[in-house]
Symmetry: C2
Subunit: 488 residues, 2 copies
């Protein structure tokens, strides 16, 4: 297969939807709506034996009727009709097709045989397949999206995503949106009958648009080959792996879902560790790792300067930094004194962590303290604890929007200046305090702040535990390349 | 000290604020605003040498000028003026006072001496002290709240909270609000110079309004006595402990915050374990434990029936249930067949977990399946995975509110019916997918659903990991009372 084929599949200009429909309760209706609402950028050809036009696009009775070549096809018909659709793609000379329907390998022997038939037919005709039993391809540059991906970001970016779960891919992409993680290509491979996890690892290794890779894997059939591809990719680009089905009872679930053999936890941990990749514990953790890699290229910090308002945040950040293996160096009396001079007389402490005395301390006080800490040679990065809930709650009570906007704007600017002057990054910890729908305004403010910070490459986390856990893996990747770096 | 004193302190009818102010930048101004906005239910007496009236309340130059007895005083003056205020409380025969200012034990020798003086003065005069360096008492029944607690729930409930961090107490109470956790009394003890963690454990043991207790502890001075009080309380009521400062570097933070000796992790884990209490890892985890104890009195389930839409949620819930020690029993062919008959032809699986095929499966399909699972003798409780994000996103796109409300209403009703018929509880897992402020509507929907579920004693969690981790500790408490049950 040549690189040109991948271009036709992942960046198609001419796209057919086989089984297109006006009915939003059918796959073919959902796909049409997703593609038109998301904004497919090329020529879209609905294929359906009945009907003249779907959502404003001229409809063709057969794929063969579409004028000129077709790059890629979405096969949105039910399982029993998929083989015919694959044959028509071969006849038309389509480069690749994604198959959405379930009802193949994961359904037992008859499904397995049908899936084998699809693969043989496609291979004989030079057609590449994605799926079945998946949500297909998300390619923001081409305007292509997954089945429930109408509200994904339309902006392309440096992250490649491979998923053996369509739902998992959607979760990760929606969780990424407000964390400024943007994708080159995301594929929901489903049963991965043809294009496999291993092939996608190799694709992303060579793809100049992709700088970071995430993968949700349930099982693979080509252990040795997979391992070599993972190792090759991880040597060039950060890779974060979430492996499903590793518990005692877990393999049962994976077998029912994508018909995969899940494998043992020991074997998987050893393989990922020795390939030099990083392991995630769930989709949110995977997303936060992608965010951190996106923000902190080359990060190898081991030693934190922490600024936290209110005593428990001081205690907690020290506890979690320690737990995840970071140092929080004590300060010399001169540095302490300079910090103390900037703090209010009671409640604050010019130490590391700096106790900011209250969670709403002004950026004009915090910014110079950030610089003082970052200039110390024994501090590699800053962690800034922001209790935005109280902030936004106060703003809401006062009916003021101005109060709200200023803080994260000023603090992000301070972090950017510190990074420019010292090369040292800042990360922000913003706990998710809001629980009541009446206070959703506060949560919106937290989301706005997170978007603002992360778009400036300042990673944001929901707790000190998550922050230091993720940062530890980023530092492990960059300092131990090719070394053992698994953490549980 | 008699029970009457506690009533005067925690449910005061006549409250003085010493150092009351109109200025919202001062403690005395914040407190006055908090008490009036929150709605203190008794008589409020601002005390300030200047001024006639504060926020509509007649102001007294000295505490002695207040007509008649005073139950409780908020001392809102700076540290150097606190001793005089304490003396005036003694002279007035006040039962208790909370001291907000920092600048005592945590600030070194002079602060220690001043704090000792406060205690000696108060004890000699029969006055009890809360603080200093804390946020005081939250008593919804009395209309008393913590300094930043204006938007706490006004409804009292069965949970007692003890905190050596005012900020931590506020976080827990705000996080509790949308999880239907309501408090009898929460105290922010700060340096705990007089009323101690140990005394509060004993108070809650005897308090008929309190059924569950949570505590954030930095350090205690009375190890043996604390342990006995904890053991006595845990034998009667669930107790969840978050201990700060347990890491290698952590004690430094605790010393600076409340002047506490943090103690070793080993000693604390052993003590909590052997007392029969449950340990939390951070404030959010503490809150989720309180929610689960509030919903699941007597829960001792070990074996789950899981319903999850979309393959990854099946795999993930099996993995995390296993990881936290729960069984997910395989089903007999007859039960499987009955479930399968209710599911759509492709994509769903009538197994345990039930694969609901898609994350928006209708309650009319889910409800009978819940009952089928719950009626099995080898299933103790149900776990229902709800991907509300997709749900609310769809509702938002369609501009429909009706679509949104129906699902969690119907599912909560189904869970209540199952509980009535079989005695088996349901818990809900609703991941926090929303990240972009543009989608905050979806998060609001999730919060509304959580409030609805938890107000019906159906606990809700943000991930499968958190759900089974918390449930494990609830089951451990109720099945292993007095036994070892610490989990890390």
């Amino acid at each position: 297969m040549t690189a040109d084929n991948y271009e036709a599949i992942f960046y198609p200009g001419k796209l057919a939807v086989i089984g297109a429909s006006e009915n939003p309760l059918k796959f073919g209706g959902l796909v049409m709506r997703a593609l038109t609402d998301f904004g497919f950028k090329g020529d879209l050809y609905p294929v359906n034996p009945r009907g003249q036009s779907i959502l404003g696009h001229k409809t063709y009775a057969k794929l063969q009727d579409v004028p000129g070549p077709v790059d890629f096809a979405v096969i949105a018909v039910p399982a029993p009709k998929v083989l015919d659709a694959v044959r028509s793609c071969v006849d038309k000379g389509v480069a690749g097709a994604e198959i959405l329907a379930a009802g193949f390998r994961e359904e037992g022997e008859a499904g397995k045989a049908l899936e084998r038939e699809l693969v043989l037919t496609a291979r004989a005709g030079g057609l590449r397949l994605i799926g079945p039993n998946g949500f297909g391809v998300y390619s923001p540059a081409a305007g292509l999206t997954l089945l429930p991906g109408v509200d994904f970001s339309r902006e392309p970016g440096p992250v490649g995503l491979i998923s053996q779960s369509g739902g998992g891919a959607c979760d990760a992409i929606y969780m990424s949106r407000g964390r400024s993680v943007r994708f080159s290509i995301a594929v929901s491979l489903g049963n991965a009958c043809d294009i496999s996890v291993t092939e996608m690892l190799r694709y992303f290794e060579d793809d100049h648009r992709t700088r970071i890779v995430g993968a949700y894997i349930e099982g693979i059939d080509d252990g040795r080959d997979f391992f070599n591809a993972l190792k090759g990719l991880a040597a060039k680009k950060p890779v974060v792996i979430l492996k499903g089905g590793l518990s005692e009872q877990g393999p049962r679930g994976a077998a029912g879902h994508t018909g995969s053999m899940a494998g043992s936890r020991q074997a998987w941990e050893a393989a990922i560790k020795s390939a030099g990749a990083v392991m995630a514990k769930d989709i949110k953790d995977l997303t936060e790792c992608l965010m951190a890699f996106n923000c902190l290229e080359g990060f190898s910090g081991r030693s934190a300067g922490i600024l936290a308002g209110g005593g428990i945040r001081v205690v907690e950040s020290l506890d979690w930094a320690s737990y995840h293996g970071f140092l929080v160096p004590e300060l010399d009396p001169e540095t302490s004194g300079r910090l103390q001079a900037l703090l209010p007389p009671a409640g604050g402490r010019g130490a590391n962590p700096v106790d900011l005395a209250n969670p709403m301390m002004s950026p004009s006080v915090i910014a110079p303290m950030m610089e003082i800490l970052a200039k110390r040679p024994d501090i590699d990065f800053l962690a800034l604890y922001q209790m935005l809930f109280y902030h936004f709650n106060e703003a809401r009570r006062m009916g003021s929007d101005a109060f709200k906007i200023e803080f994260h704007h000023d603090l992000a600017k301070a972090a950017e200046e510190v990074r420019e002057k010292t090369g040292k990054p800042t990360m922000v910890i913003m706990p998710d305090i809001t629980s009541d729908p009446e206070h959703v305004y506060n949560e919106k403010g937290r989301m706005e702040a997170r978007l603002h910070y992360t778009s400036r490459k300042i990673p944001c986390f929901d707790s000190a535990d998550r922050a230091f856990s993720v940062l530890r893996r980023v530092a492990d990747y960059y300092t131990g390349r090719g070394q053992s770096r698994f953490i549980g």
